[in-house]
């Protein structure tokens, strides 16, 4: 450039200054994302922790005017509904993952993979609508079963995709060695490939469980709600997420504080599952990288 020797360093200084300003903006962006997270967790811990008690975890709900009472029925209900989703979801999800990874180099395999990705983005309330028209309308009442089925539609695609990726990470020579020894398809997959990928498959299952445990929308008109202990999986049941919603929009001060306590329980479970899953995965990745 033929400009004077004074201008060039100035322009360079400006360019470098702009570089630093924009890095500053990136740091600001990160702060803007982390502040709400810290804020939410802090409020949940502070308000929820103040109202969490043994009674809350072990007693049945009381009318809002009386005070006291707990969410024991909702905690049990959540365990049952999520349990149903997991019981349906693990065989279907892992089986689909195995097919996509081991035998899926065809139209069915690619089509199912595509459907899984689309279903992973399915609005959760849509799963609730379908379970409502299929099960609630047919049976004539709300039920834990309908809630579990709705959640399983959200659980399956996550597990299937993570299982596929986990199985694909197992080195090819392990399959070939097993085949060369004359081992049939089923034992090769179930006793050689699947055990090697088990850590990552479990990670996927835990993350999917954490995700459906916090789902509320599909349960609003499937599992519905109840003030009593669950009487069977064909009966309506209270769950923790639906209770948080119902109590939060109620006009009662006492119920609001119970909603925060419930949120603390839910967030703890979900975050513990996530942290455990991710540390498990990190250990796994190191092990694989280290040979």
């Amino acid at each position: 450039m033929s400009t004077s020797s004074v201008q060039a360093p100035l322009r360079l200084r400006l360019r470098l200054a702009r570089d630093r300003v924009l890095v500053g903006l990136c740091v600001l962006a990160l702060a803007l994302a982390i502040i709400p997270l810290v804020w939410v967790l802090w409020e949940v811990a502070k308000v929820g922790g103040g109202h969490l008690s043994l009674e809350f975890l072990t007693a049945l709900p009381e009318p809002p005017t009386r005070g006291g009472g707990g969410w024991a029925n909702a905690i049990v209900g959540s365990l049952v509904v999520v349990g149903i989703a997991v019981a349906i979801g693990i065989p279907v999800g892992v089986g689909t993952g195995i097919y996509m990874s081991e035998y899926g180099e065809n139209v069915l395999g690619r089509g199912v993979r595509f459907l899984c990705e689309v279903m992973a983005g399915l609005p959760s309330i849509v799963a609730g609508i379908v379970a409502y028209s299929l099960i609630v309308v047919t049976m004539g009442r709300f039920s834990a079963l309908a809630g579990g089925v709705a959640l399983s539609a959200l659980f399956v695609p996550i597990v299937a995709i993570t299982a596929q990726e986990a199985l694909k990470m197992v080195p090819r020579h392990q399959r070939e060695a097993s085949m060369a020894l004359g081992v049939a398809e089923a034992p090769t997959t179930l006793r050689v490939i699947l055990p090697a990928a088990m850590g990552n498959v479990l990670t996927g299952i835990m993350i999917a469980t954490a995700r459906v445990a916090g789902e509320t929308a599909p349960l609003l008109f499937t599992a519905f709600n109840s003030r009593y202990w669950m009487e069977g999986i064909d009966q309506p049941t209270a769950t923790v997420p639906v209770n948080i919603y119902a109590y939060a929009i109620s006009p009662f001060e006492h119920w609001h504080s119970q909603a925060w306590a419930g949120a603390l329980v839910l967030v703890s479970v979900v975050l513990i599952l996530n942290v455990a899953a991710r540390t498990l995965w990190a250990r796994r990745a190191r092990f694989m990288a280290g040979g």
């Binding site: 360019r15 570089d19 990136c26 740091v27 962006a29 990160l30 803007l32 994302a33 709400p36 997270l37 804020w39 939410v40 949940v44 089986g95 689909t96 035998y103 395999g109 199912v112 595509f114 459907l115 899984c116 279903m119 983005g121 399915l122 609005p123 959760s124 309330i125 609730g128 609508i129 379908v130 409502y132 028209s133 299929l134 695609p157 392990q174 004359g182 049939a184 398809e185 089923a186 034992p187 050689v192 699947l194 090697a196 088990m198 850590g199 479990l202 993350i207 995700r211 916090g214 509320t216 929308a217 609003l220 997420p241 919603y245 939060a248 839910l266 967030v267 996530n274 991710r278 796994r284």
Partner: protein
């Protein structure tokens, strides 16, 4: 099958296992023996099933997923038929919603969903990009993994907890500080912002949605930025570009399709988000284009009315809104996935 036990030393362990299994199902040696005996079709099938039953079993399970997806679509289609028969496509742009008179139309809810999701994307995209750039380019190594971890945790917090926080913490702040501030600033002159009122508004819902989709867009765009070949960026740096210039002119332009699809997938998530929206949007019936007013969304009206809907036409109108929501998110997810897939094939 104990995962820990087997996982620690697969290679040594599998060999004796396989030895044992060889005598089991599926040995192919009998097929090779000459001369091949003539076998009936049934025998051949029996043989194929014996050798390949596991493939067929998992294939059958995979077909279940296809059945599930088909069932979801069929149920939405059949359930919403009465509404489509009554009003046809005009259901989409009708604005009345009156369960008592049996008049239903989806426009206010579609508008509410698009307004909140659009605003959420407008807020979340620059922030997510900043995070992605920071994490790929500038963050020191020891900070990078913990920060990625924290951003992913943000995605794990359940929607209903964000909703709870939205009702009791964010909505008051929006009402008392944020809305008056925006109304007093030059931004307040924009026609999308009216008179500030109570804190349960389209704007509050947009803010919550933005918080919730930031981790998704940030994680996806970080992956896209990581996939940009190093030599592209290093070439620019070697020519004397500052890091930022290399980022903007080389990396970002290379990654543009990937970032676009990250944004589309984030938008898809915002459309379908139910609880946080329902709890903060105000749930007012009627069309509004003012962010400072209470509104409604497709997910919120379903969440609020599905339980109590009695008449067939009311239920089927709600299912019809579910179908529109499903199709919108289907189109966005497919578009996003296709672009990402294209990016991946270009790399290899």
């Amino acid at each position: 099958m104990n995962p820990v036990e087997v996982g620690t030393d697969q290679a040594r362990r599998t060999r004796p296992e396989s030895e044992k299994l060889r005598t089991g199902v599926g040995g192919t040696s009998s097929v090779r023996r000459p001369p091949p005996p003539r076998r009936s079709r049934r025998e051949q099938w029996g043989d194929a099933i014996r050798r390949r039953w596991f493939r067929y079993l998992t294939g059958g399970i995979a077909l279940l997923v296809v059945a599930m997806a088909t069932l979801i679509f069929m149920e939405l289609w059949l359930g919403s038929r009465p509404a489509w028969q009554e009003w046809g496509l005009s259901f989409i742009w009708r604005t009345e919603w009156d369960p008592v008179r049996g008049e239903f139309g989806a426009l206010p809810f579609i508008a509410g969903t698009l307004l909140t999701s659009g605003m959420a994307l407008a807020i979340a995209l620059p922030i997510s990009l900043g995070i992605a750039i920071l994490l790929t380019e500038y963050a020191p190594r020891f900070l990078r993994d913990p920060l990625i971890f924290v951003v992913e945790l943000l995605a794990a917090v359940p929607s209903v907890v964000f909703g709870l926080w939205g009702i009791f913490v964010l909505a008051p702040v929006v009402q008392n500080q944020v809305m008056p501030f925006i109304a007093g600033s030059p931004l307040g002159l924009l026609p999308i912002f009216g008179e500030p009122g109570p804190g349960y508004t389209l704007f509050t819902a947009s803010l919550i949605l933005a918080i919730m989709i930031i981790p998704i867009i940030a994680t996806l765009s970080r992956e896209v930025l990581m996939a940009v070949p190093r030599d592209q960026k290093e070439g620019a740096l070697a020519l004397g570009a500052t890091r930022w210039e290399a980022m903007r002119h080389v990396v970002l332009s290379y990654a543009r399709p990937g970032i676009f699809s990250a944004a589309v997938l984030g938008l898809g998530r915002a459309l379908g988000e139910t609880m946080a929206t329902t709890m903060t949007i105000g749930n007012r019936l009627g069309l509004t284009l003012d962010y400072f007013e209470a509104g409604n969304s497709m997910t919120a009206i379903i969440a609020n009315e599905m339980r109590e809907a009695v008449s067939e036409i009311h239920v089927s109108s709600l299912v019809a809104i579910g179908l529109i929501l499903f199709l919108l998110s289907f189109v966005l997810n497919t578009a996003g996935r296709l672009v990402i897939m294209q990016v991946h094939t270009r790399e290899t």
